[in-house]
Symmetry: C2
Subunit: 583 residues, 2 copies
């Protein structure tokens, strides 16, 4: 299994790329990192089978951005697609003062038209492990994603030690094109996208062959890879007796994942760009939109190699584990591990998942939540029908984004741009979350939760039974523009009286993404202190695409200097034209 | 082979559709025909194999528009695609006074964004057989097309008699998605789209089976169709001893076609919405973008049925004939013809094609061309390279459309919106059109031929050898906003001195589309009397997409009231914003 990574070539290539596409300006006390990115479709073989992927500068996944806290990132995004608009969301970056750079089509900006350029310029104020990705239609699923790593600022230190680091961006891959997936989801009868064909680590996976075939009793073929294939695994070459930081992020379209390293434990130290109280695990669950840093100490037999494995949780897995090697130097990377890859916990062992979630606490000294909320919004997560089409909905409203982005339409009071009615703050008292909806009919909507600037908001994410009996799905929820404190998880229907008392207000972790378990609830709190309009949504791509999200707005009157580029469509575009003609 | 067309159901369905989607307002002396069209992708089986097609109101091909000369067509087009813009071009309609409704992205309007509506409102001033289709990227190839039939105005008469009519819209179909075709064409190495899998008549064809299998010696299966399938042929049921008008239009992406009706002759009476001197043929060639009306008299044995066949010309055919039946009433339509389908002339029998083209003359009394041109533009058609990517080019410039549509940028003098240099009016004197280009390197450009308003322009379309030795392709050229007179065709390099004398100024046919034959030239003349910006391009979809077109502008200063919708992008969009802020 000689998968030799052509390190030298890669290094030269990266230097060339950096010279071409990234320039760094350092001015008084702050650095601007400048990138020029072409987004276009290209042929690529993420899992040894050729597909069309959405790449950046000819790369898949897109180039990794590395910066220091306090830097300004300036990405000039050129849309080289033929007929599609595009945007990029900087997942986990709060966009303080630059809400128009959040990269959410219909929310923070107009999609960038083919041939046009958009300037994403924003500060990365906080060290951590972040992701960037498409946020228009289901373009993220086409491969439009990459890593954004923010190191601590000059003279700052992380609250833990490590010798070196690796970046593991996890995703899932389908052979059906995303365009066709979108058509299926919008069809009657509904066509579900199914389980992914392949799991990818840094955009690399193996379909129809296995790196660990010799351990299995099945007829799967062993992979015969030279190492320079687009699908060849990226091996983690380590020195013995060192501590490595693994930056692990999941940008899956659907799959909840579990990651383990054979014979090694991991110490979790960061979640979504926030430090957590270190805790040791044998394996870790990770949901779409989440990121973690774990420390791994290379304290095992250095004459051996070890499997790193990633498998599916929360859905009956029909997708083989993604694998790569932890390769102890100077052991050859062609030497296979002696033991088979770690076994992913049973897909429906939710106790295992909950146990992991419940171990996450904020590092001492982290900001604490305000004692009491100013407002509580309860969001019921359901699967529904609209005119016989399957949708996902929140409080019985399926989000159908308007064609004029909210940031502009709220700023300029264009009242016809979206539903003016406030969306519901709760659901019917007698709704039985343990059963399929009695009346599954829902409606489309695009109203906005208008939040008081600097108010404290509690959100109760309430899960429920889907359309089929005894089915309740996992939904990882991601909030734009903020971190929130995770106050607690619970089973069944949330009861203010009973459950509120159990909220963790002492050391709740700060996150930007949190899961709701099947038939359960998750409580979170945040301070609406970031003027702008922000999506809050299930991070499963087809769920969001079919309506599983809400929109928060706060202090938009304080947002000034929205760039024209972000407004050049829909009613904001027309408003300017009308005014011009009047004058 | 019982392909029963469920006539009754279809009729009821059509009435319902008309009630839902089309309303007719008749005001003093003029009728407005109002349509509401949703454009969206859907699953469909044009050739008995499921594909994703771009449909209108759930139909493929899109609904046929029928109107009378003088009517106003008002189509409210709603873009229900998820991430793609869209436009519709009304092919053959001159758009007198409404150049913004020509439906060419980057030329006459901004592409309509997802979720947005565009109002196409224009007059159909001239009776004839027209087409409408997408004109953004290669969306036309995705199935975004339909027929637009304009009957003579109230009290007017066609210059020929017929009892009834049928509409035959011809197209070609690929199983590879158009998105993937686009990626292949823009890749290095280049990936050609190949020959179509299937030819379609009114969106219906049969892949992997044949209606006439029993006539062939090959192992092709006979089709077993009930008649209500999306791919079941639409049978032409006729009465004996009647005259039928067949309105035949080709909207192929690539294929040049030949149509014949077993045992029947046809009399050609109309070409591209212009009457021609009637002439009789056994079969007829038709190129993409062309339309014809032919009269067919049902003077054969009425106890039999006859094949209507459509086959490929001008490229080595790898696509089976499209077939349907001319079914004499009361003969059962399940009765197969006794003779095999008419044989399509050999693909490279260009003499046959030229003979057909050379029979086309304007009907007596048709407008005649001005005696002399004010300007002559010679356009060399070549295949080229740019940075190793294969392109098509005109006078060594490959058209790469700007992101701001010309109509707005010329109207508002936004000089940075496109190349200000005039594109070349000719090519090098010593260029050998019979050989591959000595220097095949080309460059992208988007300059405009600025034409004097009401000036007479001659165009010499000069064909040449492609990149490969001894290959010269067919290019059917289509002019927007005008008809032109076809003055003549010739072989080899055009020589003003020698060839001009042979121009037909007496009765040249008016067309909007004309072919250049391999290694030949075609001369045409038109009067630039329609203020606006107009595309002139090869109608082969991948050729246009890869640069084979030019842009003409004339009298744009006289164009007023361009709707905001057409301008809400690129520099025109920004211009309005800037002005608003200044005021």
């Amino acid at each position: 299994m000689g998968f030799l990574v052509l390190r030298e070539l890669v290094v030269v290539w990266c230097i060339l790329l950096i010279l071409l596409c990234c320039s760094i300006e350092i001015s008084f006390g702050s650095t601007t990192r400048h990138f020029k990115w072409d987004v276009e479709y290209m042929f690529w073989s993420p899992d040894c089978q050729e597909s069309v992927v959405m790449g950046i500068n000819g790369q898949f996944p897109g180039p990794t951005i590395r910066a220091q806290a306090g830097d300004t990132i300036f990405v000039q995004l050129i849309n080289k697609l033929h007929t599609e608009g595009v945007v990029i969301h900087w997942h986990g970056i709060r966009q303080l003062g630059t809400p128009w750079a959040d990269g959410t089509a219909s929310i923070s900006q107009c999609a960038i038209n083919p041939g046009e350029t958009f300037d994403y310029r924003f500060k990365v104020d906080k060290a951590g492990t972040y992701i960037y990705h498409g946020h228009f239609g289901m373009q993220r699923s086409s491969g439009l994603y990459g890593s954004l790593i923010v190191e601590v600022g000059e003279g700052e230190k992380e609250p833990f030690h490590y010798d070196d680091e690796f970046n593991l961006l996890l995703s899932d891959w389908w052979h059906q094109s995303v365009h066709d997936q979108e058509v299926g989801l919008s069809s009657k009868p509904f066509r579900w996208i199914g389980e992914p064909q392949t799991l990818l680590i840094n955009g690399r996976g193996q379909f129809n062959c296995s790196l660990s075939a010799h351990f299995s009793n099945t007829s799967t073929n062993a992979c015969t890879l030279r190492g320079d294939e687009q699908c060849a695994p990226q091996v983690l070459r380590v020195l013995p007796n060192r501590t490595y930081r693994l930056r692990i992020a999941s940008i899956t379209a659907l799959a909840s994942l579990n990651l383990a390293v054979g014979n090694h434990k991991m110490v979790v130290v960061e979640a979504d760009g926030n430090y957590v109280q270190p805790f040791e695990v044998e394996d870790m669950d990770i949901y779409s939109g989440e990121s973690y840093s774990v420390l791994l100490t290379t304290n095992q037999d250095q004459s051996k190699n070890y499997w790193i494995s990633v498998g599916v949780r929360g859905r009956k897995p029909q997708t083989p584990q993604a694998l790569t090697l932890l390769n102890y130097s100077p052991t050859s990377q062609s030497k296979l591990p002696i033991l088979p890859p770690p076994i992913t916990p049973t897909w429906n062992d939710y106790d295992h998942s909950k146990s992991f979630s419940n171990k996450i606490f904020a590092l001492m000294g982290s900001p604490k939540p305000p004692k009491n909320p100013d407002r509580r919004i309860i969001l019921l997560n359901t699967q529904n029908y609209i005119d016989g089409y399957i949708k996902w909905a929140i409080n019985n409203i399926s989000l159908l984004l308007p064609s004029t982005p909210y940031l502009g339409s709220i700023k300029y009071s264009l009242r016809t741009a979206f539903d003016n009615k406030n969306p519901p703050e709760n659901f019917a008292n007698d709704y039985d979350v343990m059963k399929p909806p009695i009346n599954p009919n829902s409606s489309n909507g695009n109203g906005v939760y208008m939040l008081g600037l600097n108010s404290t908001v509690d959100i109760i994410l309430q899960n429920a039974n889907a359309l089929a009996v005894n089915v309740s799905e996992i939904h990882p929820w991601h909030l734009h523009g903020h971190n929130f404190w995770v106050l607690g998880y619970g089973e069944g229907k949330f009861s203010a009286k009973k459950d509120e008392k159990k909220f963790n207000l002492r050391n709740p972790p700060l996150r930007n993404t949190v899961v709701i378990f099947p038939f359960g609830w998750t409580a979170l709190r945040f301070v609406a202190d970031n003027p702008g309009v922000w999506a809050f949504h299930c991070h499963i791509e087809p769920h969001l695409h079919m309506g599983m999200g809400v929109v928060f707005a706060q202090g938009v009157e304080h947002v000034n200097d929205i760039p024209d580029q972000a407004l050049a469509c829909g009613l904001t575009g027309k408003r300017f034209m009308k005014k011009t003609k009047q004058n």
